[in-house]
Symmetry: none
Subunit: 189 residues, 4 copies
């Protein structure tokens, strides 16, 4: 990625997260990147292509960070706990990327269907870790597909919480609560 392309990438993520895909304008993206509008088209064929690049490159980073964080852990329940923590941190650190993805998850445009496909793959990676933990008995045997979606949803919840309550979040506290919620649920026993 050249310096210019990187500037466009960063600008685009910001603008898309602020205005959504349709709401974002090439003018804004260019201005925010500090380049001329024509430059966008020197590096990308269209707005669509910028969007796809943002998503794919972004997901790559997430994937790498997740597998890095988990690679050194052997005990599967610890993996699950670390997964909670790392996902939460990613949501926090890459909140703009998450906003872009979550805003483009819902429609019937080709772009949106593709984003769903990407999220599906992302969630299937989570499922893998859950299956491991089920296999060695630390996690309840259950329908892992749905379970991984609820896991993902819980992370989204954190994004919504963070979005709605802005500045006031305490990441460590959230981590603790989230892990407890996921592992043990809410019921008092």
């Amino acid at each position: 990625m050249t310096k210019t392309k990187l500037a466009i990438f960063n600008s685009a993520i910001e603008i898309f997260s602020k205005s959504g895909y349709e709401g974002a304008t090439m003018d804004e993206i260019a201005y925010n990147a500090g380049v001329a509008k024509g430059t966008l088209y020197y590096y990308f064929k269209s707005k669509e292509e910028i969007f796809q690049y943002v998503i794919k490159e972004g997901i790559n980073v997430l994937d790498m960070k997740v597998s890095n964080a988990l690679s050194s852990i052997n005990v599967s329940i610890d993996k699950i706990i670390m997964l909670c923590r790392v996902q939460l941190e990613l949501v926090y650190e890459h909140r703009n990327l998450f906003k872009v993805i979550l805003s483009q998850l819902w429609g019937q445009e080709l772009r949106q269907i593709e984003v769903r496909g990407i999220v599906r793959k992302y969630i299937m990676d989570i499922e893998k870790y859950l299956k491991e933990a089920i296999d060695d008995g630390t996690v309840k045997s259950s329908e892992t597909s749905f379970m991984s979606y609820t896991f993902f949803g819980t992370v989204v919840a954190a994004a919504v919480y963070e979005l709605i309550n802005e500045d006031k979040v305490n990441l460590e506290e959230m981590e603790k609560n989230l892990t407890s919620y996921i592992l043990k649920g809410i019921q008092n026993i």
Copy 2:
């Protein structure tokens, strides 16, 4: 709501859910409602106003259905269980409304900030039920604000699951899994 206004309401929800706010066009909404474009402006001042009407009227329906479902239940843990069930049913039944809301949750446009305010209120209603259950000891004492967001997130998860896996969902099965997940978590004890 006259017949024509209702037709516009239904059409708008459909189009907004398919294309998002910016992606939806007045032409499409009018055509889908079976009226002329001018008619939209006879009933609403602007696209913005149609959108707001859709959201507010939609949320009203959800609120009423939730309180109806819970009004006859006294035991607080049963209320929580029913809340799981009813939310899941609403996500399923009013999926288009949920798609509209969830797609408009993430940006910095006035409209999106307003939608977040509405969701915030909606989640605070959930919090009320959780507080009740904590008070009588059936639910663990915890940070209820965050807990209600995770609850909401889990419901969103169901929406995503349903969206990505389309047709193949089994609502009853999902209900059982969801309730177990929320109440007891995933860990084997």
Copy 3:
């Protein structure tokens, strides 16, 4: 054709003849028609579609004028003579249409290939009259296909002559010369 559509049609022919297809701008066409740019798109899907409408509608008029002029003539040599005259008059009267057609005859764009198809059909109509005249012996037996193209080319020559020498043309004189050229050639015997 509504009044507005007609205004667009007339404007477009003028602008296309002045600037060619690519050189013409929608702004110019709209301004010249006395309507807003959006109005062009209310009546036509695209610039391309305006162009096609101009060509097809224009060719229709030519076809009708030719067959009207020839319908009342029975002697085939007189038909040929009248064909010379009427073609020349059409080139003169509809010079803008001819300019548009002749400028769009030469490339490999779909639009240009289509125009060639239309011209081909137009020339095949001429061929019909030549064949008749050959059948009754007033015109030399020859390769009629090529002959009709040369006939057409001679008409184009008149267009070029008229274009290059502007104002100074004497239509009657041209008619006489043209007919003599076509019927008897240039050689002195």
Copy 4:
């Protein structure tokens, strides 16, 4: 002409003939010439200048080929016959140049008016030969200016014929027909 300039010349003629002046892009011309876009501007000041170079250099070649072909012929009627033949061969051999010229003959842009001027001069050369033949009585006395345009038009006809009927042309046959048409016309006597 250096090798690079020649490459640009050849590329430009090809692209202009395929897409017209406005339709041709500098990118395409550069790519087709196997050079970088900047190189075009090393050799030419602008697209306009490339175009003019193409036309002028092209017409030069035509002029030379015509005068070469006719220089050794003394009998004026033979000159006319050879003129037919050589023009037809040029149209065939340099069809791309003819397409460029013929597509740029019709508008009101400066460039197009200039092309008309060049064609005018080219036709006036033809006129010269016709005048000679009139002077010694082999060609009918007539308005030579118009006659030379019809002569040119007949050649254009061949171009159109060739363009529309592509591959299927038989050059020798065409030459015979064309010469007969020009010298003796179509009428049976």
